[in-house]
Symmetry: C2
Subunit: 255 residues, 2 copies
Amino acid sequence: MKKDKKYSIGEFSEKTGIPIPTLHYYDEIGLLQPEKNPTSGHRIYNYQDIITLQKIISLKFLGYSLEKVANLLHESSFNIDLNESLSLHLKALESEKEKIEQSMQAIKRVITVVEEEGVVDSAILFSLIYGMNTEHKQKEWMEHHEITNIAEELSKKSEEDKIALDKTFIQLSKEMKQLYGKPVADSKVQEMIKNYLESVFSFLGDELIQQLANTNVEELNVQELENMIPSPFTEEEQKWFNEAIECYMKQTEME
Amino acid sequence: MKKDKKYSIGEFSEKTGIPIPTLHYYDEIGLLQPEKNPTSGHRIYNYQDIITLQKIISLKFLGYSLEKVANLLHESSFNIDLNESLSLHLKALESEKEKIEQSMQAIKRVITVVEEEGVVDSAILFSLIYGMNTEHKQKEWMEHHEITNIAEELSKKSEEDKIALDKTFIQLSKEMKQLYGKPVADSKVQEMIKNYLESVFSFLGDELIQQLANTNVEELNVQELENMIPSPFTEEEQKWFNEAIECYMKQTEME
DNA sequence: CTTGAACCTCTAGTTGCTTGAGGTTGTAAG
DNA sequence: CTTACAACCTCAAGCAACTAGAGGTTCAAG
C-alpha cells in the first residue's frame, strides 16, 4: 500500500518539490530526519515524512521561522493560544505589505516622472525618493508639532496630485539651474517663482494655506524637518532662490 | 557653513538614524568610505557623505541590493534605461506582495476557523493550510487538464464561501472521526454523507457540477492532484468513507 | 565487472547586518 | 598630570535559510 512505500531522497524531492540540499539541511537541523540505511547512509523517506514535510511547508507558508516550525511540529492540535501567535504574524505581514506598497508607489512615481521627463538629474530624483521614503517621519514630525490636521490632509492627497507636484518640482529645478545667476528681480526669475508658488498653493488648497498661515512657524524646529528632505540645490542656489521669493513677496505686497 | 561641518561617526549616526555598526559595514564594503584621521583612525564624515548616504537609503528603499546600490551610486542621472530596471523591481515587489497577501488570507481563514471551533485537530488544519498554499498549483493542474473554466470559477469564490467550506470540512472531519467504525449503511453515517455532499454541491453550484459531470475523470491523473492535497484521514478512514459514499449513491439511485 | 547516476559528508559562500571581545583615543574633572 | 570614562577602533563570529561545490561512496543496469 501507499503507506508502506519508501522513497530515496531523489524521489522524495521530486514528489514534494523540495530540493535535495534543502532536505539535507532539514535533516541537519533536526527538522525532518528520515530513517537511514545503516550501511550506506542513504536516507529513506516514508509516508509519515511526507506528512511532516507538509506540516513544515504549511507553517513556513504561515510565516513561521524554521525554529518555530520545529516547536509547533509536535503540537497535536491548534487551539486559541495558537491563534494569538497567528494574529501576531498577521500584523507583521501587514506591515511588511505596507512597506512593499510604499516602495511600489515610490517606484511608480519615479518611473512616471522619468518617462515624461526623459532624463532627470540624479540629485533631484534622489531628493524626491528620499522624501517619499521619509514621508511617514515627516508626518510624525508634523503630528508632534500639533499640526496633525495638516499632516492628515497631506497624506490624503491622491497619487496623481503627488505625481503632478513631482513634475512641477522637477520643472522648477530644471528652470532654476538655468536661471541661476541672473538678478532675482529679473522678470523670468519672477515668472518662475510665481509659477512655483501657484502650483504649491494649488496642491495644498486654500484651507491648508489658511491653517499654515495661522501656525507660528518660528516655533517649529524647521531644521529637523529639513534634515529629512534633502535639497537638490547647492547652498548658493538655495540662498538665491530664497532671495528671489522674498523679492516676489515684496512686489506682490506692493501691488 | 553647514557644508564644511565634519561629523564623528556617533554624530553622523545620530543625524542620519543609521546605526554605527552599519556605517562600519558600509565602510568595509566600500559603499560609504569617509575620511579618516590618519593618527587615530577615527572616521570623519562630511556633508557629501550625508548626500551619499541619502542616495544609498533611497536606492535601498527602492529595493536594490547593496551591490546594485554601489553600481548605481555613481550614475549622475536617471534615464530611460534605468526605468527598465525599476520596472523589473516593481514586478518582483508585486509578486512578493501577492505572496504575503495569500499568507494573510490563509492565516485569517485559520484564525476564523479556530475561533469558531475552539480546538481543531492539527491534521485537519494542516490539510486546509496546505491546500491553500498549493491553490495556485491546483489551478495550474486544472488548467493543464483543460478544465480551465472550472479553475476560474473556483478561484472566483469569495472568502466567506471558502471559510464556510472550511468549516463544513472540519465539521465533517470531526463527525467522521466519531462515526468511524459503524457500518456504512448506518442512518447517522448516511446522514453525514448527505450533509457533506449537499454542502459541496452548494459550494460548487449547479453549473460547475454539470461541467464536472461532463468531464471524463478517468482520463485525469487524479493521483497527481491528491498529492497536492493531503488527506487528514488515515487510509482506513478514507476507505470507509469512500464505501459510505458509494452506499449513499446506490440508495439515492434506487429512490 | 564496469560505468554512470545518485547518493554521501563536509566546507564555504550568500545578504545585510548585529554582537562581542579586547584595545586605543579623546575629553573633562580633580 | 593623572584618571576616569565615553567614544572610537579592529577583528572575528553569528544570524537565517539555504545554495554550491569538492571529493568520495554506493547502487542499478548492461
